[in-house]
């Protein structure tokens, strides 16, 4: 009974804590709105920005708020091909969020398995894995991702691989340190006394208790992944031209920045910033709530 009741009260507690903090609630609402906008971008966008039949070259490089020849208003202006910036941003958001979330989930799974193995096995396995983690974390993620992409080449799959590669070490380290703590707790001894196998103890007992800190790291890492993807795309090493993420939109707008056409890179950047700020604030709040040291 208690096993079923506990998670319910925990999640309602979590919800209540969001309602209590106004900033966290605002961030959560903003984040939900962004995710919904990204998911439903084909439905809510004024036009399909990559359907060439819907574009009119006469509408190119229009400032925000201009009316087109056929009476539509471009709220955020248009790019050099007459593409509505608002639509392009909504589609770009979808790609940026998608790449960020997918790479984080893969890296999380990988880091979880490796970290658990290191923490539970101990000995030379642990030492070897942690040396690799330390070595990787001593280099900035942007450098590692750049080098990987320079070797692998361009493509959506390549950028996901690069993002997974730079992230897994964070999760491995987080999981390992909580696995080390959990391993020494009494419930693990009890499970050992009940003659449960090591796999069952690892996945049914230790793993669920390692998850809260991991969730916190993962939320913040999604923001990192999105920012890193945008940076790499801006440098021309990330997403291919067929999958225009926010970073790529900003890079395209850069060419027109010096002639004063700011909207092509300004608004995609605002969308990127709003996404990252919302994720960071929600992540900060989750950390405060889930941190056992701060719980009374």
């Amino acid at each position: 009974m208690t096993a079923i009741a506990a998670p319910v009260s925990r999640s309602s507690e979590l919800f209540a804590s969001f309602v209590r903090s106004r900033i966290a609630l605002a961030a959560l609402v903003l984040l939900c709105a962004i995710v919904l906008a990204a998911v439903f971008s084909p439905v809510i966008s004024p036009q399909n920005p990559y359907n060439l039949a819907e574009l009119d070259i006469m509408d190119s490089k229009m400032p925000p708020g201009t009316k087109s020849a056929d009476g539509r208003t471009f709220v955020l202006g248009t790019d050099e091909q007459g593409r509505d910036m608002l639509s392009a941003i909504l589609y770009g958001l979808r790609i940026s969020l998608g790449v960020g979330v997918i790479s984080t989930v893969i890296a999380l799974t990988l880091g979880l398995i490796i970290g658990l193995a290191a923490g539970y096995a101990g000995g030379w396995v642990d030492a070897l894995i942690m040396r690799i983690v330390d070595l990787q974390l001593s280099f900035p993620s942007i450098l590692i991702a750049l080098v990987l992409l320079a070797v692998l080449g361009q493509g959506v799959d390549k950028i996901v691989i690069a993002l997974v590669f730079v992230q897994w070490a964070y999760y491995a380290r987080t999981v390992r340190s909580s696995a080390l703590v959990e391993k020494r707790k009494e419930y693990v001894d009890a499970a050992v006394c009940l003659a449960y196998g090591p796999w069952r103890i690892l996945y049914r007992h230790i793993l669920p208790n390692c998850l809260p800190p991991l969730i916190v790291v993962a939320t913040v890492q999604v923001a990192h992944a999105i920012a890193l993807e945008a940076t790499l795309s801006f440098l021309g090493l990330g997403m291919p031209i067929t999958s225009p993420s926010l970073g790529l939109l900003i890079a395209n707008g850069y060419a027109h920045l010096l002639s004063g056409k700011y909207w092509m890179s300004f608004f995609p950047g605002v969308a990127l910033l709003a996404t990252i700020v919302a994720i960071n604030l929600v992540g900060d709040h989750l950390r405060d709530v889930l941190n056992p040291r701060l719980q009374t």
Binding site: L135, F139, P140, L143, V147, A230, G236, L257, G269, L273
Partner: protein, 325 residues
């Protein structure tokens, strides 16, 4: 102490060795090294000649040995694009990057320490809250986008600062620097500020957290009881204690500033080695990429070593611990 230094040096040498093996494996073993190191327009006879000349018909361990020997002699191949030694190309661009990174660090420290101290000493004031909100924003802002916005505001709208390039340089001890001329300073300001932003946010948070922790310590209470003025408590007692972790972070972050300079240099067309790397990746000039990687690995290992040794020198507790083990 000497034992500690020796052991730390050995450790650095080991990391260097491992990283050189990784770079070797990454560039030479994966994919055909002939494609990587020889001009793609070469014909069959030329490729065979080059394979033999590069020693690629030899067993892999021997190749690695040759690669290492070459690296020690400063021979890392010639750039495809400009046909000069790749290492020379990197070293020639290095001063610009180092100047940019150092200026960014100075900006971050000069602004970050006082702001962080202020936020830590008076945490409930509106000013402190504004500073902290600003630092969260500094963490979240994508660096490259901020760079673009700086160009938009200061170059396009206001017309105060030049958007790209390094400006006029003058030699200082044989190295060309920008910060001694007015034109150079004008070029340096925006990229340095852009690069400093993230570190500034980090330093504010670190200093604030350290200050808040130090202010409730017994030595502060004792100094107060003794009648020491509040300014002296902050300047002498608090600052001294929070500086140790901050110095470490500043040291360690210097490496990441050099790495992030890749982005800033690309935006502002700053002629450093980061821009060289991006240009080389775009034209697949692989010898230059390899040379950049090796240079940056050496730089990182050296920074880590210096920070560790500085840490030991600054904090007697670490020194004692190291001596005991």
């Amino acid at each position: 102490m000497i034992l500690y230094v020796v052991r730390r040096l050995a450790q650095s040498a080991l990391v260097l060795f491992v990283m050189s093996a990784l770079v070797f494996a990454g560039v030479y073993a994966i994919g055909n090294p002939v494609d990587i190191l020889i001009n793609p327009q070469a014909d069959q006879a030329e490729i065979e000649r080059a394979t033999a000349a590069l020693g690629l018909d030899q067993p892999l361990p021997l190749q690695y040995w040759n690669f290492l020997a070459g690296a020690f002699a400063g021979e890392l191949g010639r750039s495809f694009a400009s046909n000069v030694s790749a290492l020379d190309l990197i070293l020639q661009r290095m001063p610009a990057t180092v100047e940019l990174a150092l200026t960014a660090m100075v900006i971050a420290i000069l602004l970050g320490l006082p702001l962080g101290l202020w936020a830590g000493l008076k945490p409930d004031t509106a000013a402190a809250k504004t500073i902290m909100a600003g630092s969260i924003l500094g963490f979240s802002l994508p660096t490259f986008w901020v760079g673009l916005m700086l160009i938009m505001v200061f170059s396009v709208w206001l017309g105060w600062l030049p958007p790209t390039g390094r400006g006029e340089t003058v030699p200082l001890f044989g190295i060309e620097v920008s910060f001694l001329t007015w034109d150079g300073l004008r070029h340096l300001f925006m990229p340095a500020l852009n690069l400093a932003l993230f570190k500034l946010a980090l330093l504010i948070r670190l200093t604030r957290a350290g200050t808040r922790e130090a202010m409730v310590q017994d030595y502060v209470r004792f100094a107060r009881a003794k009648g020491v003025s509040e300014t002296r408590i902050v300047r002498v007692h608090v600052l001294k204690n929070i500086l140790i972790p901050i110095v470490t972070v500043i040291g360690l972050e210097f490496g990441s500033v050099i790495a992030f300079a890749i982005v800033t240099e690309t935006i502002f067309a700053w002629p450093g080695m980061g821009k060289l790397l991006i240009d080389s990746i775009n034209v697949l000039d692989r010898p230059v990429i390899v040379a950049y990687l090796l240079v940056i690995v050496v730089l990182f290992v050296m920074i880590n070593l210096v920070v560790d040794l500085l840490y030991t020198a600054l904090d007697p507790r670490v020194r004692l611990q190291a001596a005991r083990t």
